[in-house]
Symmetry: C2
Subunit: 382 residues, 2 copies
Amino acid sequence: MNDTHSSSEIESAPLQTVHVNLGSRSYDIAIGRGILQQTGERIAALNPGARLAVITDETVAKLHLDALSSSLSASGLGHVCLKIPAGETSKRFEIFERLCDEVLEARLERGDIVLALGGGVVGDLAGFVAACVRRGMSFIQVPTTLLAQVDSSVGGKTGINSRHGKNLLGAFYQPDLVLADTAILDTLQLRDFRAGYAEVAKYGLLGDEPFFTWLEANWKAVFAGGPERDEAVARSCQAKADVVAEDEHEAGRRALLNLGHTFGHALESVVSYETERLVHGEGVSIGMMLAHEFSHKLGLLSEPDMHRVKSHLSEVGLPTRISDIPGQMPPAETLMDIIAQDKKVSRGNLTFILTRGIGQAFVEKGVDPALVQDFLTEKLAQ
Amino acid sequence: MNDTHSSSEIESAPLQTVHVNLGSRSYDIAIGRGILQQTGERIAALNPGARLAVITDETVAKLHLDALSSSLSASGLGHVCLKIPAGETSKRFEIFERLCDEVLEARLERGDIVLALGGGVVGDLAGFVAACVRRGMSFIQVPTTLLAQVDSSVGGKTGINSRHGKNLLGAFYQPDLVLADTAILDTLQLRDFRAGYAEVAKYGLLGDEPFFTWLEANWKAVFAGGPERDEAVARSCQAKADVVAEDEHEAGRRALLNLGHTFGHALESVVSYETERLVHGEGVSIGMMLAHEFSHKLGLLSEPDMHRVKSHLSEVGLPTRISDIPGQMPPAETLMDIIAQDKKVSRGNLTFILTRGIGQAFVEKGVDPALVQDFLTEKLAQ
Ligand SMILES: NC(=O)c1ccc[n+]([C@@H]2O[C@H](COP(=O)([O-])OP(=O)(O)OC[C@H]3O[C@@H](n4cnc5c(N)ncnc54)[C@H](O)[C@@H]3O)[C@@H](O)[C@H]2O)c1
Ligand SMILES: NC(=O)c1ccc[n+]([C@@H]2O[C@H](COP(=O)([O-])OP(=O)(O)OC[C@H]3O[C@@H](n4cnc5c(N)ncnc54)[C@H](O)[C@@H]3O)[C@@H](O)[C@H]2O)c1
Ligand SMILES: [Zn+2]
Ligand SMILES: [Zn+2]
């Protein structure tokens, strides 16, 4: 922890590297302020002479594309820039098809690179494009939201949504490099930063009590952009990388990363993914709180631990109750139907991530749906 | 070699199994007459309780879908049947999207199965669907053309065409099981059988002189459907499996499988993939002949070996000269442009598979384009 740094030293905070260990598909995540300016050099070192298709969204393009493009040009890397509209609705088939076509149109070869400059939406889409064009091009992530830096850019899940649900089409496809410039997050809306922070807190809650304790003490500096931010991003990436290295294709332990997500996804679905009402990280925040409350109700989690979670999420400004979501909520039955259809339900059994304490989450298969429904009925009434 | 079997014993010809060794993604190819009727049993043993989406084309559906469907039902395997129009034009984005949607519509889960019943078109499409839906479902191939049994169903290449070229979108995705019923080939058009046979001969020519010699002696029985057919399919699958196991993602040795394909693809492209004029295997046959003639011209291959190849391909009824293709041919420059754009061209160098004798093909990088153009000019004049 670099907590001896003063804020004037931020610019020169040392870079951190997290190695994601996946055999022949291993790669590094480089983390630090100002790393965006090194993109060209770093790529030229990895893949000299490569050409790139930079995929980004219109919002990010206005703020950060020039800096990236200059860095690539300075290293003599030819590139085309492909823009998509900002927002979740871009994660659809039509845009996927258009991007694949544009990458081919640019005559990129198989050793050339698709680079994602943006949040999770851009990363998921661009990664799926990289996976499919010429059966797999080189892929580099430059995540620009906190959520993308600590979550979506690590682990190789890529994809788009379908009318049948979120992320139903995609590929497991690992990047060759991730460059997480923590200074790039300075332009992020507070609401988006907070949403990403829910995933940071998740890593503490699911398996690292000391990290959660550290966040309770240091979250303000993480938001402000001190070296604590780099530290929080690096620890989160490391946590996800460890789980992914053990279980690349989500057969077992990786399910822990879904802490808060079964409830969270159901809530996102109920509001039809209208981000004015609820963004993913907010759903996760409420979902994590529900998972802790449900664990408490089942006699697994102590009341003080449950309150500690609530205090911290509330303190940073994240929602923790279903009633924090603006607008009407449907009855518990509707939420249950959505949960039952959730992709994490395998042949009829309900799988939940429950917990026995801060940092002590575990996978519980075969949770009784009746208990969940009772619990949700209670919560909807609050 | 089962050449002691008489034709009356065909029905009870023993099954053969080729194991494709790819670590955790290893799988078996079971080969034999009548294996289609065992599909249900075999799948139930591998993945009990699974549900299936059977993807097939309209021609194959009429001939063989009932038998497959009965076998699945007899083993209690629930399934939906999804049909596409027969022919190469089905390998396009729109149909890929529709199939993904239909698999999701059928509410198949991640452990459920996409089964391809058809030739290379169905296999390539269905495999890409299996790779992408829920980021990867279980995939089973029941190849129904000779080409699909000896080539496209082995090795994990899946995909569709783009307006920029063939097979430009796709995934490397291995099946969990391949069931090659050699009796199913009895309903194949002679022209399609021959086209597949070009790929069989290819395995001999690229690395197995004894197999080529065996084919010279036994090709009639292979066409007629004797146990020699099973033998030829098994040896071809084994040859491809060996190469694929060594080089799953086509970095090196796997390129040998492209013997005849650089020229062949250029010819297919020149006729705009109009299958009335040229089907893939015919292109490969002419392409293999050209590769041998070019090798001879370069002083690598003896004249008797070159003639041996020509005699055998002609004897089985395959085309061997560019002028065997009906209709007009463009000048050599046009063919060269297509070859230069071919996906096997890496950053400007021309890579060709050349040969020093029957069964002695090798990868030659950096072939002088001028030599190729001279050679093609000569051939176009014949
Ligand atoms: N692949 C995975 O493992 C994984 C994990 C979690 C979430 N996801 C996906 O990630 C997506 C959500 O990601 P997200 O929250 O980053 O959404 P996002 O990409 O839509 O970004 C949120 C908003 O922030 C804007 N933005 C991005 N960077 C900015 C910056 N530096 N400054 C100012 N504005 C900026 C974007 O234009 C967008 O409007 C969802 O689609 C979700 O399914 C994927
Ligand atoms: N994935 C790979 O590694 C790989 C390798 C080689 C070729 N391919 C692809 O394979 C495709 C060509 O495969 P194909 O030659 O099998 O073409 P195909 O699938 O179009 O089949 C040829 C024709 O035979 C019909 N047919 C199929 N089985 C039949 C049967 N048992 N009886 C009667 N008719 C039958 C089909 O309906 C079709 O009209 C091309 O798209 C090519 O790109 C892929
Ligand atoms: Zn999440
Ligand atoms: Zn071929």
